[in-house]
């Protein structure tokens, strides 16, 4: 109890109060000045520009190290329980075939928050501890590309990708020429609903605005799906939308909220609310609804609304300064073999970028339900009714966030 002792000291006039304050003040003054000066200006966090030669040299000097650290979203790779232990058959095959030992982790729950955990290392030019990270095409991924936080890919390692990836998943607008990323899985943002509760089939975005479903509608609380999906619902192509469209979409969503139609703005937990009946219809991701249908909620349905849904892609990429880039890119290419893609797609039920996996799932894995599901292998028609996310510049992103965040954070 130093406070107590100090009081005693003061009482006994060992030091006067004023003296103490003066000395303390002087010390603090010196400190604060120094601190203030060093603190003036937070340096840009942009990584160094990587020239083609430098990029080539990353790959020239890199060798296979036999280890690899993989950061993915939860429940996003095939798994099996053997003797009470969870194993990943596709990763085991990879380890056997290549001799590379994989440390597989599931730390990604949200793009931004995950980025903020690795950003300090990247800004300091240090390895993040991950050799592959999976991120959705969107603001965070674009930001990482702009900041030079990703390692450019050496396409001579990507033979399977070139051969087996669907043309649709090559050369995307968010990463021309697949310079930094290759797709992991894709999905569609649409509407999930329980026809028993809604009492009718859901076909349109406007059903989410129907006062009949007051308090029974779920929406996403994010700045990615919520705005883009709403604009698609208004008949606007999000990719070419203008700030005026954003305001109009925000007004519509605000009205929907103020009318009491939205029960809650969800993150990953919307599917629980849909299964338990807390909400009757909700914005949803295709694979989640399919998984729920197969695990206790067979009534649930998923629909891409007439106005259109959003097709998004989660991408594998190698963070800058990764320690094992060759091992990483070997893995990225490995999963494009149709057999491996089939094993993964047959468990995660999202859209695989490898169309050849369909036959293997049907014939070798004998899983008709998955092979024939339009949610895993969408029809051309389904693809045609989807849009992509708006790609935002830094300035646009600030305005975008300021427009849409107040909807679910008010």
């Amino acid at each position: 109890m130093s406070e107590f002792d100090l009081n005693k000291a003061l009482e006994k006039d060992l030091i006067t109060r004023r003296e103490l304050l003066r000395t303390a003040g002087r010390g603090a003054g010196a400190f604060s000045l120094a601190a203030f000066l060093t603190a003036c200006g937070v340096g840009g966090t942009k990584g160094k520009e990587v020239t083609d030669e430098q990029a080539a040299s990353i790959w020239d000097n890199a060798t296979k190290n036999g280890v690899l650290s993989f950061a993915n979203w939860p429940l996003y790779i095939d798994q099996k329980k053997v003797n009470g232990k969870v194993i990943h058959p596709s990763l085991d095959r990879f380890e056997k075939d290549t001799g590379i030992e994989v440390t597989y982790k599931e730390p990604v729950n949200e793009n931004e928050t995950f980025f903020s955990t690795i950003q300090p290392s990247l800004a300091a030019g240090k390895p993040t501890g991950y050799d592959i990270v999976v991120l959705t095409n969107g603001a965070t991924l674009s930001k990482m590309i702009r900041l030079n936080y990703l390692t450019p890919l050496e396409h001579s390692y990507l033979k399977n990708f070139e051969q087996y990836a669907a043309p649709k998943y090559k050369d995307p607008s968010y990463d021309p020429g697949n310079e930094y990323t290759v797709p992991w899985q894709s999905g569609i943002t649409g509407i999930g609903y329980n026809p028993k509760l809604t009492g009718r089939e859901i076909t349109s975005f406007n059903d989410l605005l129907d006062p009949e479903f007051k308090g029974k509608v779920g929406m996403f609380g994010d700045t990615l799906d919520l705005p883009n999906f709403a604009m698609a619902g208004m008949g606007v192509n999000p990719e070419t939308s203008t700030p005026d469209d954003w305001t109009a979409a925000a007004d519509m969503l605000t009205k929907q909220r103020d009318d009491g139609i939205v029960r809650q703005y969800y993150q990953q937990n919307y599917i629980k609310a849909l299964s338990s009946g807390d909400v009757w219809l909700t914005m949803a991701w295709s694979g989640d609804v399919f998984q729920a249908q197969n695990s206790g909620s067979p009534d649930l349905k998923f629909v891409v609304p007439d106005e259109g849904g959003i097709l998004w892609t989660d991408n594998m990429c190698i963070p800058a300064h990764a320690e094992n880039p060759v091992d990483a890119i070997t893995m990225m290419d490995y999963v494009y073999q149709p057999e491996i893609a089939a094993i993964i797609a047959d468990w995660v039920w999202y859209i695989t970028p490898v169309p050849a996996a369909q036959e293997i799932i049907a014939n070798d894995l004998k899983d008709k339900a998955v092979a024939e599901s339009p949610l895993v292998f969408p029809t051309e028609e389904m693809y045609n009714s989807t849009y992509r996310y708006r790609v935002l510049t830094t300035e646009e992103e600030q305005e975008w966030n300021a427009t849409f965040e107040p909807i679910y954070q008010s």
Partner: protein, 283 residues
């Protein structure tokens, strides 16, 4: 000489600690709060005080809501904790320490886990609301989660020990002879409490209110787990600005606004209650 130095030496550990981990970060934040820029090109000092104006303008509702929730939760905690602390201090007998341990027991479990268990308890079809709905006592669309009530309950529950402990200490130290004297002078039980015990326990109340009100108003866990779209508190906003938007200047500015408001509130409150009593309490 040594005698003169001793008091300074005594404050060195605490002083260095405060300087390094409180003062320096605080000044850095102060500096950041008037900067402009973005995460890609960096932030530079432009003395852009507009950040404060923007922050207050944009987030006044959340700021006021935080103070409101904080105040209600503090009052609720006071009402719950006072009788509890009183009982332990006056009637706890030999088992006082056991009761105190029971009071502290929830602290052994992580804050987030405790809040998540509330989410489980209050769920729409959870173990409380589920049966009541099945019995028809409650309408089917009744829900507690995502309401201000749920958030305030969470705040009250989580910060209750911060209120109870200072109250207990205050009541425990109360000179019993004064109480006896009041009784000898024919004061009724109510009068003893109102005129002797309550005033003498005010320092404990003041400390408890401070320890509860400040963290409760700035909390973001309860609102994000138990709340809904219209229960966002200022802590949630600052968190989003920092971690999602990387808008460090606006987030820092808001941080300072919150600090200033809380300090002001506490200052006014302490003036009303009187700091002399607080001093008495600490020596």
């Amino acid at each position: 000489m040594r005698k003169r130095l001793a008091p300074y030496l005594l404050i060195v550990p605490g002083g260095v600690w405060l300087a390094l981990f409180f003062l320096v970060p605080l000044l850095v934040m102060l500096s950041v709060s008037t900067q402009t820029g973005n995460i890609e090109d960096g932030f530079s000092q432009t003395f852009h005080f507009q950040n404060y104006v923007d922050g207050i303008k944009q987030y006044a509702p959340q700021l006021l809501r935080s103070l409101e929730y904080g105040t209600i939760a503090t009052l609720a905690a006071l009402l719950i904790a006072y009788p509890m602390a009183y009982w332990i201090a006056f009637y706890g007998g030999r088992n006082k320490s056991t009761f105190l341990l029971l009071l502290l027991l929830p602290f052994f479990v992580s804050f987030v886990v405790r809040t998540l268990s509330w989410e489980f308890l209050l769920a729409d079809q959870g173990i409380i609301l589920g049966p009541l709905k099945d019995l028809g006592v409650l309408p089917n669309d009744f829900h507690v989660l995502a309401t201000p009530f749920a958030v305030i309950c969470g705040l009250t529950y989580n910060f209750l020990p911060f209120m109870a402990l200072p109250l207990y200490v205050g009541l425990e130290r109360l000179d019993r002879r004064v109480v006896e004297a009041a009784q000898d002078l024919y004061a009724s039980k109510t009068e003893v409490f109102r005129k002797v015990i309550l005033p003498l326990s005010m320092p404990g109340v003041l400390a408890g209110v401070m320890l509860t009100f400040i963290p409760a108003s700035a909390d973001f866990i309860n609102a994000s787990i138990l709340g809904g779209p219209s229960t966002t508190m200022i802590g949630n906003i600052i968190q989003t600005l920092f971690l999602n938007n990387f808008d460090y200047p606006l987030a820092s500015a808001l941080g300072f606004v919150v600090m200033a408001v809380l300090l002001l509130a506490m200052f006014l409150y302490a003036r009303r209650v009187g700091t002399d009593e607080l001093k008495e309490f600490t020596t």
